[in-house]
Symmetry: none
Subunit: 197 residues, 4 copies
DNA sequence: TATGAATGAGTGTTCATTCAT
DNA sequence: TATGAATGAACACTCATTCAT
């Protein structure tokens, strides 16, 4: 499990484990923010987010001193979820299905990012590690799934996780991508990924 | 020439062809807006745009009653310029060079769009024709250049304009694209576009 | 007449003379701000000032981009008024009366300053000229009135304007000064200022 | 010893003399508040004060239900310290030195008041006794020291404690007083206080 | 009892839009 | 007609105060 509330505390230490109500609100806020961003765009107001979470703005600000911190938290949480999905897939599914279903999850993740791209760039500028680290984690997760499929003889071997991501990622960022189309494209990619013959 | 100031008047008719000074102001405003968007992002203020154009806000509002209209005008103007470039290329360059140079222009156009993607989506929502019509015009322009190159035997024939655009367009939207990288990718695409042998 | 709306434009030049309505509002705002500061203290809100002036906050901000600029404008205006009073007194009153009445005006001015002392210090920090320049102008005005009285043989000669200000000014800043008391003290000072015999 | 924690309980009675740890916290809070006011101005936040004292805001509010109560406590404590200094001086120093050193302490006290003058006025408004009572206590302390010096023949006799305070106090409130200058002025006052011849 | 999380009214400030000049 | 002054809703953010833990 990678999902770790306040995962930005890289060097964890004792760090007094958030009070129960605070943690509940933290999660509630991240979820609310994602919903509001999705619904009203990445420039939604702090008030709107707090209201969606059913708390006062003050609470929102206690957890996220600056607006950009909310964006970062939503993004981190999305990435965590994606990585978790890869690990859960490894446990529950066969090598090929795990890879295929994770790629679908990735497409959703990438689509979700688009609604607050502007804000995300700001967050990246402020904290370059966020971008680099996340990309690396995602590529690694993809790599693990791919290698597993390759070792099972279910995926062609002349490609690695980074190549695959370089192919799928830009495809997702395409502004005018509807779900049906992305599914068609993904299917094509998956077909191409089968070992020859 | 496709450039048509105030081209949103779909049903053209006589439509009084705008006084010379008014037209000059209109163009000045669109150019200023593009500059300001590029420099300060898609959420630049109306004041900033008016100041850049050297006029009062009032004048800006005479031409564009709502902020979103400025965004739309800049976008339309970008598209017009792109279409014009295709037509000019047909006159001045050989079939292959015209295609290649237009694709480079397309990359620039696509990059420029990114700074006001949010605003553009709004404009698309408000006026779906804008999106569809522009896409169609661009695909058509691409198609004409491609067919011409194919008929001259300078491009492979198993691809059409829409395919080519579907390939190049997502590539451009990719967030982390620097000019050198986009040039490398474009070169690769152009190589792949040559007829086999 | 020293009172000059927007007197901070030291190098005047043509500088396009404020539109009539704008100038009216400028003066209205400075007066309103003084009233509100007097009534509610130096930390009164911008909304309160705008409302007192009968305009929207936006208007207040057009004239004074930062809160501190309001404080500065009120102060500059107070100083201007004080200097004007000195000049008017010279025209209308005998040497001694002019001096005495101006000192009374000074006491009022100093008392008025006290309600926004904190804010004024901020303004001084930001713009040291404000403090130095104002002090100099006041001392000079005092000096002119004193010299005139001395030349008329109505004031003792072993004191100059700066001395007099150094005496009266701290007296005024005293936190717990009520009008009656300040009048008693000022009378004492004036008595001491008469030429011996 | 005049220092009386929670001295606002004018009618003392039994009044349960506060548990040792509570009293320790109380003092800690007052000291912290003074430090924070000095450092960050009289409008420092309650959070800042609590943090400086190393306690939670809750604790701060247990002792001081309203923000203004903190201001009042700091002020009362300052006055108490000043009165104590007078009494300690009487025990440890000769009549003249006790007076001189206490006046220096008074200057420090007065300077300290300036950082939260606004807040203090509020406290005075809410509780006029605070102002009057404190002034009286200070004048009395000054009077006792002065009388002792006069009886020892070390100070002129045509002046009383109130006169002396009326002279020194305004001098201190003067906004632009640096320590060196205040020392010069105080020296002058002390010289003038020596008996003639 | 001490803590610090939650609250929400209030602040300074911005900016799309309207309207007097 | 062009100008830029006026408007006020909206925003990010703060902080005194209350209340669950």
């Amino acid at each position: 499990m990678t999902t770790e509330v306040m995962s930005e505390d890289v060097a964890e230490g004792p760090a007094k484990p958030m009070r129960a109500d605070a943690r509940r609100n933290y999660e509630r806020l991240v979820d609310a923010a994602r919903r509001v961003f999705t619904e009203h765009g990445g420039d939604a107001s702090m008030e709107a987010i707090a209201k969606e979470a059913g708390v006062g703005v003050g609470t929102l600000y206690r957890h996220f001193p600056k607006r950009i911190d909310v964006v970062e938290a939503v993004y981190r949480n999305d990435v965590d979820t994606l990585i978790d999905a890869a690990e859960r897939g490894t446990l529950d599914l066969g090598p090929w299905d795990a890879l295929a279903s994770w790629l679908r999850a990735y497409v959703d993740y990438a689509q979700a990012k688009k609604v607050f791209l502007n804000e995300l760039h700001e967050a990246f500028d402020k904290n370059p590690e966020l971008k680099l680290g996340s990309r690396e984690r995602i590529w690694a997760a993809c790599g693990r799934l791919l290698v597993r499929a390759q070792e099972a003889g279910e995926a062609r071997s002349d490609i690695d996780g980074e190549d695959l991501m370089q192919l799928v990622s830009p495809m997702c960022v395409h502004a005018t991508l509807d779900p049906a189309q992305s599914e068609r494209l993904l299917t094509m990619v998956l077909d191409g990924l089968r070992p020859p013959h």
